[in-house]
Amino acid sequence: MTQIDSKIPQGPLAQKWTNYKASQKLVNPANKRKLDIIVLGTGLAGASAAASFGEMGFNVKIFCIQDSPRRAHSIAAQGGINAAKNYQNDGDSVYRLFYDTIKGGDYRAREANVYRLAEVSNNIIDQCVAQGVPFARDYGGQLDNRSFGGAQVSRTFYARGQTGQQLLLGAYSSLSRQIKKGSVKLFPREEMLDLVLVDGKTRGIVTRNLVTGAIEKHGAHAVVLATGGYGNVYFLSTNAMGSNGAAAMRCFKKGAFFGNPCFVQIHPTCIPVHGDYQSKLTLMSESLRNDGRIWVPKKKEDAEALRAGRLKPTDIKEEDRDYYLERRYPAFGNLVPRDVASRAAKERCDAGFGVNETGLAVYLDFKDAIARLGKSVIEARYGNLFQMYEKITADNPYETPMMIYPAIHYSMGGIWVDYELQTTIPGLFAAGEANFSDHGANRLGASALMQGLADGYFVLPYTIQNYLSHEIQTPRISTDRPEFEEAAKAAKARIDRLMGIQGSHSVDHFQKALGHIMWEYVGMGRTKEGLEEGIRRIRQVREEFWKDVRVTGTADEFNPELEKALRTAEHLELGELMARDALLREESCGGHFREEHQTADGEALRHDDQFMYVSCWEYKGAGEEPELHKEPLIYENIKIAQRNYKD
């Protein structure tokens, strides 16, 4: 069994990062020029890391599957980014942000990492403002903050409902500056197909040029995986259509451990599913819950009438409405964390109180807020969201309540990394959503942007040097080495195999089938039997996929069907890994809810004595069961408590 070494520096929590930086090894400028780094993905983590490496003097190659680095899915984050600036003088501090993140993650995140995240959060805001990110400001010209996702302090910085976009464009502009300088080379529309190891160390990648279909080889002294999350295993999610977990899976298969694959976050406020043609789910910002009240009818017959269209939501009298979050969680009400709100919605819908044609929706009502604050205030706060909702559903939220339902949104799990963000393969680093590290079993609102940028701007530039300082003797990696040839051949063989099946169903057919299984059995409420059934069915779909998928076109052209097929093939394995992890984790925590493990009143029940660890899965070969390793989580600075949002 490989020893799990998370390489947490010695010293008191608040000093660990300072100590690390003081004692780490550096690379001198003359040597930096001789070292190559590959960055995969141009989201917040990838773009910020590549830009920073370029500034430092390394040679960087950055890859993305879209036509431009600016399209990465970080762009879609709406709400904001947290930082412990305490500009509002409401008692915030680095410790409090750290504490909230650990608690919000249901005590399944590593203390030292999270503390570092909170520590560098302030630098991120400074950096972004210097780049010209137009954060919201108050009339005095200072930065404005809002409270987000149930936090008791206002620590969220925002740029309208487009914070992710503005932060990404900031990182993209820094990246563009380096591209112009020549320190970073950009490879758009190019997808990583395999990782190349030489003597156990990361030495490069094999890619497919998505325009020409050419298989290309790229060598480097280190590779950073910043390819985002794997929510699209579920087919329907709030992720972009192109978001996928394939690159992470390819690293997993080369020996990188996968951490906590079963931890995915389900966002409570998404626009519900309309029909089977639906391609993705649209998130409505969590900030809506600050003023909106969530309810379903108290009477089943009302719910049925609403579903059939015989009643309108505005017909339901006040006393016949069940504001179930306010009822169950008097202290936090509609602002309970995402996982709690999502499960509560599912519970009501499963009990038959759901609205919408499908019965899978609850109301988010602004009637009271409009009456209290006036329409103009609500319009100023949420105008763009209301407009977006109306464009999609043709309903006007000023007049009739919105309908929402939970959807897969973020994956807390990911490639396992140590304190240096290095995976179990030397020279392979993982950053942003692609790694498992900072959010435990549940991510707090406005923390994803913080983590992506923290990793890219303020962590990797230090830690990667520590690794590369040992590589200064290694000459530029030649892609003529047999290891590259082998990887390219294997990638080509895989493509040929997929192209050669010429079965009877499209790729989407299989991805949708997988998605249904995942949502049904590895979704919001999981059971032992369900997970076992899920695994059985995933295997079945996987088998059918390899026998019966139809990929049209050819391999040497622009072929989105082939791209999807390659990704779905990985998702079919990742899905099983997620289910397996969920099966093993016999407790409920954060986004992972095992129905067998709940309190008398239906809340998540952790088993800290048995499961206070990170599940680290090691690939053991095709068809073999992956092996579980455990990284114990030690809490020295925080008192463990059961999360309580009731009082």
Binding site: Q66, S68, A76, Q131, G132, P134, R137, R177, T393, F558
Partner: protein
Amino acid sequence: MEKKGLNLTLKIWRQENAKAKGQFVTYQVSNISPDCSFLEMLDILNEQLVDKIEKPICFDHDCREGICGMCSLYINGRPHGNDTGITTCQLHMRHFKDGDTIYIEPWRSKAFPIIKDLVVDRSAFDKIIQAGGYTSVNTGGAQDANAILIPKKNADLAMDAAACIGCGACVATCKNASAMLFVSAKVSQLALLPQGQVEARERVTAMVAKMDELGFGNCTNTRACEAECPKQIKISNIARLNREYLGAKFCS
């Protein structure tokens, strides 16, 4: 309540690759739900094509919530179709009538060569940003974010401009295929903020020169860009760009 499905005739531009000659191909789709999005309608068509062992239609798309800027279809004479303030992915089929014929074309611009079918290469936009659409600030060492106060009005105007998603609808609809709205949005954003002042002159000169070099047309103030911009970016930004540009030219 049952909504009536739509039967539509689609005339779609098909082109094998950058060098091949393209043509319109006619397709029929039936019983499309009005709640379906335009791209989902194309998904349905593509599923049918795969069933018939034909190559599906290639089109760019990603986030499908109107923010990534990837989708780029010229639908019946309008980029992003017949609605305002939206991207193609936010266009829903309820804007069409049963029996409609829909022309679907790629963005047409010398600076955006076609890659395949409806997919175009918009790396020209990246090149313009690389020419100067940034502030030269290295990671680390930035001063406190509140050290420089910025009037709310300016911050808001900068945000209005920064909302650009780089989709290229402005170029697509402009009769001159001009990229002025795109360039002006970035120049404006940084010109309005103190952080962007230091390099303002070099930035505007370099970005405009790059834009001209890449073969975009000139602005004749038809305001078509503004009318089609999914983020409703105003041409007052173009005026600001002109101001900045003339200022830079006169003072250098």
